[in-house]
């Protein structure tokens, strides 16, 4: 009779297996906890940055201060300050008045200016203006900072209704010294331009090089040398590429500093090895029977590769591109070397204008002392993650689309 | 020749060869006994021969079955294919030889008196020749000896000549005395059987040639049997 019940020797094996399984589960659990922790921290810190506080106050557009002919030159700041002070007749000391004024952001005046410029008929009327609060006031109302002027702020709130709204400024402004005005548009545009150029250059070059090396080049010592070097380049610290960019593109070719063009070139060099390696692997993974079938029917080498091998390798190539893209978006060090570290307030119009990229922007903001910038930094990190995830999603969608077709 | 990679294949072919050897041995024995029975008018021996023929028939069935199975299972090629086809053919020839020996033995019942000297010598000679041919050809088959087989093939000519003379002798005998007709007719049949046995041995010889060379013998063998054209008035 065969005994199928468990033996002692097997129990040991099963115990070992169970142990190993539990190690894996614990590792997974810990990783998840850390990730969640990280995410919670970032989102918690950054979430408030997407909102801003406004107070609404009646402002009299005094024709004496604002010239009908040139509405833009009026002293709107004074108008607003007067309107606010009018609400608090009991505040008389200079220091208190100054404090009151400090609750209001510079942008409030600009907003009002824009409104009047758009509609000059408002001159002479009393309008209800939404005035942006300054960073400190904003932080207080968000509950982040305990202010010394808490009493006054509460008073402020009672007279002038304070409302919270989504900060569109965050998306449409360039960088600024004032925390409440600092926006990401410059960095986002800079990132998109830089990475766009990097992919535009890197993808064709990388795929072309991979196709040549895999399908056309005769195996020789040279090709071996090239292969080893490409593999090594993938591991080179990214700052070296920055040095290369500095020496070649800026000093030798004289291209503009801080421009996405240069940044794109440097990043293209950076992601090239990754794309080449991934593309080569993808090309190699295509079953040789397909190519043989094409050759057997009388296709030339080029026809066989481009009509048959390349389409089948596309999913793999896209994977390589995703990896390259992700890396390019997150690179800071080489871009610092080519000068994208400056404070750039204007939003870049084209690839040759000075710009900065998201990771650098995050780096810059994290260095600033104002407390408000802390949440801005976290918010910027959230934006970077969002962009990366959508880029990934697009590439995965494309990959799946091509995979299913075949 | 090296063995087959699949041992069972070799075993199948060996089994066929063994059965054929057995069958051949039996047939030789049957023929010898039949001739002896006829010469000595030994009814007991004759009956033994008649009964024993069943064994040869059974062997032939077994060989055929085994051969068909081997073809189905092994899909034999070349030498192996020829081996099996020849086994089927040879077993058929041996079975016929067995039957002819049995028929010859049967004639013993019909012979009531001793045979005249000159008839008995002729028949004895014919019997010995047929026996020798059968022995030789079976030997040639077992040893795959093509030369020996061809000897048998050609020597049938002699047997045919002997048959012709016995035929004439018997005709003469019958013409001499009508009372001899019954005896002579039986002897005629007996002689004819022996001549047929000789023909079957040549068939076996031809198959041996095919087995070894893979080609059938096209040209006709020398035949001397002219009894079909003989009549009583010929001298």
């Amino acid at each position: 009779m065969i005994d199928l019940t468990g033996k002692a020797a097997n129990t040991k094996r099963y115990a070992a297996e169970k142990r190993f399984k539990s190690y894996g589960a614990i590792a997974l659990g810990l990783t998840t906890v850390f990730l969640l922790f990280l995410l919670a921290d970032i989102v918690g810190k950054g979430w408030p940055a997407f909102f801003e506080h406004h107070a609404s106050v009646d402002v009299m557009i005094d024709p004496a201060s604002v010239d009908v002919a040139t509405p833009a030159t009026g002293d709107y700041s004074a108008l607003i300050k007067d309107a606010v002070r009018a609400q608090f007749p009991d505040i008389t000391s200079r220091s208190d008045k100054k404090k009151l004024a400090s609750f209001i952001s510079q942008a409030a005046a600009d907003d009002l200016r824009d409104r009047v410029v758009a509609d000059p008929s408002l001159i002479g009327k009393t309008v209800k203006a939404d005035i942006l609060l300054s960073a400190d006031a904003d932080l207080y109302f968000k509950g982040i900072e305990q202010s010394d002027d808490a009493e006054m702020l509460e008073k402020f709130k009672t007279k002038l209704p304070v409302a919270k709204s989504i900060s569109w400024r965050f998306w449409t402004n360039g960088d600024s010294r004032e925390p409440e005005l600092a926006g990401l548009l410059g960095a986002i545009k800079g990132s998109l331009l830089t990475v766009g150029i990097a992919i535009l250059l890197g993808l064709p070059l990388g795929v072309g090089a991979a196709i040549y090396l895999e399908q056309f080049a005769k195996k020789s010592r040279w090709t071996d040398v090239i292969e080893v070097n490409i593999n090594n380049l993938a591991a080179v610290p990214s700052i070296i590429f920055g040095l290369l960019g500095l020496a070649m593109f800026l000093n030798f070719f004289g291209l503009p500093r801080s421009a996405p063009l240069v940044g794109g070139l440097v990043l293209a060099l950076l992601v090239l090895p990754t794309i080449i390696i991934a593309s080569r692997a993808a090309l190699r993974a295509v079953p040789p029977s397909i190519k043989e079938a094409a050759l057997g029917v009388g296709a030339s080498q080029q026809q066989a590769v481009f009509h048959h091998v390349l389409p089948l390798a596309l999913p793999g190539i896209l994977t390589g591109t995703i990896l390259g893209l992700a890396r390019a978006f997150g690179e800071t060090a080489p871009l610092l070397m080519i000068g994208m570290v400056a404070f750039i307030a204007d939003v870049p119009q084209g690839p040759t204008d000075p710009a900065t990229v998201l990771p650098v922007q995050i780096f810059l903001w994290s260095d600033l002392p104002e407390l408000a910038f802390k949440s801005k930094t976290a918010a910027a990190i959230i934006v970077l993650i969002m962009i990366l995830m959508s880029a990934n999603a697009i590439a995965i969608y494309l990959r799946r689309k091509f995979e299913r077709r075949w | 020749m090296p063995e087959h990679i699949v041992k069972a294949y070799d075993q199948d072919i060996t089994a066929l060869k063994t059965m054929l050897a057995q069958m051949g041995g039996l047939a030789e024995e049957q023929l010898a006994n039949a001739i002896k029975a006829l010469a000595k008018r030994d009814i007991t021996l004759a009956d033994q021969v008649i009964r024993a023929d069943e064994k040869i028939d059974e062997l032939e069935r077994e060989i055929e079955e085994k051969a068909i199975l081997t073809i189905a299972k092994r899909q034999p090629m070349a030498q192996d294919l020829r081996e099996i086809i020849v086994a089927i053919r040879v077993s058929s020839d041996i079975e016929r030889i067995g039957d002819l020996a049995k028929n010859t033995a049967k004639r013993t019942h019909a012979i009531s008196e001793p045979l005249p000297r000159r008839l008995s010598t002729g028949l004895a000679r014919m019997g010995a020749m047929a026996e020798a041919q059968l022995n030789n050809v079976l030997d040639a088959y077992v040893r795959r000896d093509e030369a020996k087989a061809m000897d048998v093939w050609r020597s049938d000519e002699e047997l045919d000549s002997l048959y012709n003379s016995i035929f004439r002798e018997l005709l003469t005998y019958m013409m001499e005395d009508p009372r001899n007709i019954s005896l002579c007719t039986h002897l005629l049949f007996g002689a004819k059987n022996l001549e047929r046995i000789g023909d079957h041995t040549t068939n076996i010889a031809e198959n041996i040639h095919y087995l070894i060379y893979g080609k059938t013998i096209v040209e006709g063998r020398p035949k001397k049997d002219v009894t079909a054209m003989m009549n009583a008035t010929d001298k």
């Binding site: 057997g296 029917v297 | 034999p76 090629m77």
Partner: protein, 272 residues
């Protein structure tokens, strides 16, 4: 192309049947090397038109190597060298002025594992004629595709799904699709490298039937591991052993009474 009498070449012994068909492919003193390995040794053979010639032999004997030399597929293998002549209708296909792409439109190939392109059935068959510019317009191309599919015995089964993927067919259908693809460019010669080894018996039987029909118009060379298939399908058989052509002759004769002992031993299952 001169009409010669092709004697069934047997290296040892004399041929039993003289085969009266013009030679399509001839090899003269061909040696093939894979780097250091001497894969084909001093091969000379004449292969006739409108007949099926089968190459048999144990693994690694060189039959596939020689087959691939006939349409120069060995060119894609690094380190593969060929000396001697391989001629198609008298012209050495290894001459410097021979365009490999053109050669392969005259010598088609069907592989062991069915490998249709991952495109539609129509595209699979149309690809060859398209790249060689054989069809003047769309209607002619469609005609060519339908004809090829009919000749391959596949049209009836796929006529309402010509634009579905070729990889969705069964194994046997895929192989017939590959055959249709090969004949779409109107080759003179079709090379088949163990076309049925990946198929079940019924699909195999269908392909053998197809080969029987095709041989009336094409010169077919088939490499096969199954001796029974070689016996059923071919008129001439070549037995290869360790890179040498041991025997080449009439199929019927080779399988009932081969001349060389090595052939005998192989086909009766005594070695290899």
């Amino acid at each position: 192309m001169d009409k010669q009498t092709t004697k069934a070449n047997i290296v040892t012994g004399t041929p039993r049947i003289m085969v009266e068909r013009p030679t399509r492919i001839s090899a003269r003193n061909v040696d093939i090397y894979y780097g250091e390995k001497h894969a084909i040794k001093n091969l000379s053979v004449e292969i006739p038109d409108r007949a099926v010639s089968a190459f048999i032999g144990p693994s690694g004997c060189g039959k596939s190597t020689f087959l691939r030399a006939v349409n120069r597929m060995n060119d894609t293998i690094a380190g593969c060298k060929l000396t001697g002549e391989v001629c198609l209708d008298g012209k050495n296909i290894y001459d410097a002025d021979v365009d490999v792409v053109e050669l392969r439109s005259h010598v088609g190939m069907v592989f062991q594992k069915p490998n249709p392109f991952p495109k539609s059935i129509f595209e699979n068959v149309a690809y060859g004629p398209r790249i060689h510019g054989l069809a003047k317009d769309k209607t002619q191309l469609e005609e060519m595709v339908v004809n090829s599919l009919k000749k391959a015995g596949l049209f009836e089964e796929v006529k309402d799904r010509l634009h579905q993927s070729g990889t969705g067919l069964s194994g046997g259908q895929q192989q017939r699709l590959c055959i249709a693809r090969a004949i779409a460019v109107n080759p003179e010669v079709i090379l088949m490298d163990e076309p049925c080894s990946a198929l079940d018996p019924i699909a195999t039987a269908r392909i053998e039937e197809l080969i029987d029909e095709l041989r009336q118009n094409y010169c077919i060379i088939i490499v096969t591991h199954s001796m029974q298939q070689a016996a059923r399908v071919s008129q001439l058989t070549a037995f290869f052993h360790l890179g040498t052509l041991v025997e080449f002759g009439d199929t019927d004769e080779m399988f009932t009474s081969p001349t060389d002992k090595r052939t005998q031993d192989y086909i009766t299952g005594r070695f290899g």
